[in-house]
């Protein structure tokens, strides 16, 4: 049995988490030693309770282990331990680094910059568009976009990066084979070929709430900078930001309006010294990367289209308000809006509510 298989065993024992693994590794040097240790020796460790010891003893079944490992290979899921050469260097700096990770697709490349884009699940269209827009531009500049596949900001960032054919990586809080939430299955599948899916949990681990803060350390660990788009005070995204700070990452935050509860977290981060960014260039300049201008923006608008376009922003506006603002009638404004929408300049955030398309 090779060493990777021992690591695989250690990382997939039910009921044994990262803390217990660290304790075990303190007593025994390698996972092989743990596997082969006499049961009395294991039971004699005070720090590990009997339930856990029983779980370890029960799982020491080589044929079953081999079957599980083969299942991974069948599903094109890779497992690498922290000793493997491919193991992301960035993660080795974590104090509670995962001892092994599962992934599909590929892993973030060490020599390419990676930026995590995270934020609220229940975000506004402002957050959604900004996340998508930033991710698109960053991906165009060959940056790897990392997120958590969560609803709202995270998935918008993944989608944005995919739009420009960039690499984007999702760190899951559940088993590597689960797409959670399941409506993101399309993005999930796409990322297997444009980026990758990463998780520290093996096949069939359910998406329990407590696992998600745990995976946040991997999101921040894998990235060089963390961009927080929209976050309430004391939200999950802020936990990631604080982890990132402890890990010495750069923190970027998108400002919001003073009274927006959903931007409170971001605004507080800015007060505390995070870099305020409103354009993707501002993230890039931090790393001395030159911004690649998107050539696609060469759409010609006529006078009225220009007028209507300029009345829109990232806060959804309904047709009545647009018509009122540009002083045209409803039936004049509607065709203009449709033309702009078909040209891809604007889109509907919700029914009959228009925002500009970044």
């Amino acid at each position: 049995m090779n060493m990777e298989l021992y690591w695989f065993w250690l990382c997939t024992i039910p009921g044994i988490g990262i803390k217990t693994i660290e304790k075990l590794l303190n007593y025994f040097k390698t996972p092989r030693d743990i596997f082969n240790a006499a049961s009395e020796r294991l039971e004699s460790i005070q720090e590990i309770d009997n339930l856990k010891t029983a779980a370890i003893l029960k799982s020491r079944d080589i044929s079953k282990l081999q079957r599980e490992y083969d299942k991974l290979i069948d599903r094109k899921i890779h497992f690498i331990s922290c000793e493997s050469a491919e193991f992301p260097q960035r993660l080795t700096h974590l104090p509670d680094m995962p001892r092994g990770i599962f992934y599909q697709g590929k892993l973030p490349e060490a020599n390419r910059l990676s930026i995590a884009i995270i934020g609220a699940r229940n975000c506004t269209s402002y957050g959604r568009e900004m996340a998508g827009g930033f991710a698109k531009q960053l991906a165009a500049s060959d940056i790897q976009v990392i997120g958590g596949l969560a609803r709202g900001v995270d998935v918008s960032a993944h989608k944005g990066a995919l739009l420009n054919g960039g690499d984007t990586f999702a760190v899951l809080g559940c088993g590597i084979n689960y797409c959670y939430p399941r409506e993101h299955i399309e993005v999930f599948e796409k990322m297997k070929s444009a980026g990758g899916i990463i998780s520290e949990y093996g096949l069939g681990v359910s998406p329990d709430a407590w696992r998600f803060p745990m995976r946040n350390r991997i999101i921040s660990g894998l990235s060089d900078g963390i961009f927080i788009v929209e976050a309430r005070d004391r939200s999950g995204a802020l936990i990631t930001a604080h982890m990132g700070l402890e890990q010495g990452k750069d923190i970027f935050a998108l400002p919001g309006r003073a009274f927006d509860a959903l931007s409170e977290g971001c605004n507080n981060l800015i007060k505390a010294g995070a870099k305020m960014v409103t354009k993707p260039e501002e993230i890039l300049e931090e790393y001395q990367i030159k911004f690649k201008k998107n050539k696609k923006n060469q759409i010609i608008l006529d006078k009225f289209e220009e007028l209507v376009y300029s009345s829109l922003c990232l806060i959804p506006k309904n047709i009545d308000d647009v018509a009122d603002e540009v002083r045209l009638s409803i039936s004049q404004v509607i065709p203009i809006l449709l033309r702009l929408e078909l040209k891809g300049c604007i889109k509907q955030a919700a029914r009959n509510q228009y925002i500009i398309n970044l």
């Binding site: 959604r128 927006d260 009545d320 018509a323 009122d324 065709p335 449709l338 078909l342 919700a350 509510q353």
Partner: protein
């Protein structure tokens, strides 16, 4: 001695002839009433004898048998009291049998001999006309209703004695002006609500105009307080006048339901029904052993408004599917099928989510899952039956404060009436009246856009992921918009407006 009186009863919304026969003979004194009777008809026995006595006649101790024929039809209602009394009195020789056969008689009796109004007069009189009767004796409270039938001589009676005098020819009915329905409309002056009281909301008003003009069913979504209900309440003010046929149908339905006064205001009003969201499927469709019209039939030729669509009982909503296609509803009972007309304009309003504020995320407290669940409470087949969908948004504060008046009901109605006329003349050989009723080939014949419109539609079809159904709906709605603008061709302008009002599918809120 035997006597026979002709009366009538209502089954569904159709009248039927019922004969009331009485036979009084010598023998052991008895009094029986037969003919498959509901309990209110059985009770007529006591009411009738007392009221005869109180009207000054004496009933001898004889063997009295009364039969309501055809005896296999269930008889319901109180309208047989008067014919029963007349038949008894005729058997006793107080009324001449020769005169009797000219009349159709209905009415409820009080113990003092007074005649009280009953339901369903109009269909009964229409039936009487069809069978060649020229005179009907009805309670005086129902005369106004009965006059609408046209040719019939409708004699209103206050009490039993009066009825006897009319039949015996001792008294001539006062010459009444026969009431005909003129095709008048709501007078906007007299109407307390008007669209110009709604400040802003031009989009909503415009889509209402389109919905009414082309009889397109419409769904309004918006947060609480956006003015959805307020706008819908004003729809009757812009609906074109009822035609005579339409008015008669409406009057018959309300006559059967005993709600004639609700739609009578010197003329027949267009019905507007707004059932509460706790309405049951039976109340919606019509129910009872002998079914009575439900909400959808009461809104025939008018407006059915379902406020808070998301709160309705799913069964009550699914009932709507057949009538929305067939313009009628069939209710089956063991003793027969009843068909009620149900050709109405459906307007529904709902909040976009449980708290009502989505997509305003600064106020909406719902999770994406909750929003999806709320919207999916409306089934896709029902959503497919809406042609228009509009978002009503919170009124613009400035416009509200400035009291900026928009278009008034009168101007809107003028446009709608013109559009309705255009449709009518265009479809005179098709057997339909409105653009919404177009289907299949007819859409290709009448709704084809010009080159510009076709190009736009094709582009939108590809980029915006329409279904084929949505594509045809857009064409129909665009046709109506063109009609409102008095244009023969459907242009790009009309197409783009129609696209804007297209019906949401379950993809709504997908981007959460």
């Amino acid at each position: 001695m035997y006597s026979k009186v002709t009366s009538g009863a209502v089954y569904g919304i159709e009248g039927r002839i019922i004969h009331v026969e009485a036979d009084i003979s010598d023998g052991f004194p008895s009094y029986s009433l037969v003919g498959y009777l509901a309990s209110e008809v059985k009770e007529a026995k006591e009411r009738v004898t007392t009221s005869i006595r109180n009207s000054g006649f004496k009933i001898p101790s004889k063997r009295i048998i009364i039969n309501l024929s055809p005896a296999n039809l269930r008889k319901q209602g109180t309208l047989f009291d008067l014919p029963i009394a007349i038949s008894i009195l005729s058997s006793l020789g107080f009324i001449s049998g020769r005169n009797l056969c000219n009349f159709v008689i209905v009415g409820e009796l009080g113990l003092d001999g007074e005649v009280a109004p009953v339901n369903g007069i109009l269909p009964i009189i229409n039936m009487a006309l069809k069978h060649g009767f020229r005179a009907c004796i009805v309670p005086s409270g129902n005369v106004r209703e009965g006059m609408l039938a046209g040719d019939a001589r409708v004699i209103g009676v206050k009490n039993l004695t009066e009825a006897i005098e009319y039949i015996n020819g001792n008294r001539q009915p006062a010459v009444r002006q026969s009431q005909t329905i003129q095709s008048s409309t709501y007078d906007t002056v007299g109407f307390e609500a008007d669209f110009d009281e709604i400040y802003g909301q031009e989009l909503l008003k415009r889509s209402i105009e389109i919905a009414v003009a082309g009889r397109h069913h419409m769904l309004i979504m918006g947060p609480p307080g956006a003015g959805k209900t307020m706008a819908v309440k004003r729809i009757p003010t812009v609906m074109p006048a009822l035609t005579r046929e339409e008015a008669l149908e409406v009057a018959s339905i309300y006559s059967v339901k005993g709600k004639f006064d609700e739609i009578w205001e010197g003329d027949i009003k267009r019905p507007v029904r707004q059932p509460h969201h706790s309405v049951t499927d039976k109340a919606m469709a019509g129910g009872g052993l002998i079914p009575k019209p439900g909400e959808i039939t009461l809104s025939h030729n008018g407006l059915l408004f379902l406020d808070e669509l998301g709160e309705f009982n799913a069964q009550a909503l699914e009932i709507l599917r057949q009538p929305l296609e067939d313009k009628k509803i069939m209710i089956s009972r063991t003793h027969g099928d009843y068909i009620f007309p149900a050709d109405f304009l459906l307007v529904a309003a709902m909040n976009p989510c449980k708290c009502g504020h989505y997509p305003d995320k600064t106020k909406c407290t719902c999770t994406p899952g909750q929003i999806r669940r709320y919207l999916s409470s409306i089934s896709q087949p029902l959503l497919d039956r809406f042609d228009l969908c509009t978002e009503a948004s919170k009124p613009d504060g400035q416009k509200f404060i400035r009291r900026e008046k928009g278009r008034s009901s009168l101007t809107m109605r003028r446009c709608i009436e013109a559009a309705v006329r255009r449709q009518k003349s265009r479809y005179k050989h098709e057997g339909i009246y409105f653009n919404a009723q177009l289907s299949g080939k007819a859409i290709d014949t009448y709704c084809m856009p010009d080159a510009d419109g076709q190009k736009l539609l094709n582009e939108a079809f590809e980029k915006m992921n329409f279904s084929a159904r949505a594509y045809y709906k857009i064409l129909k709605v665009a046709r109506t918009i063109a009609d409102l603008e008095e244009s023969d061709t459907v242009s790009g302008q009309h197409i783009s407006e129609a696209i804007c009002y297209r019906v949401l599918d379950h993809k709504y809120g997908e981007d959460l």
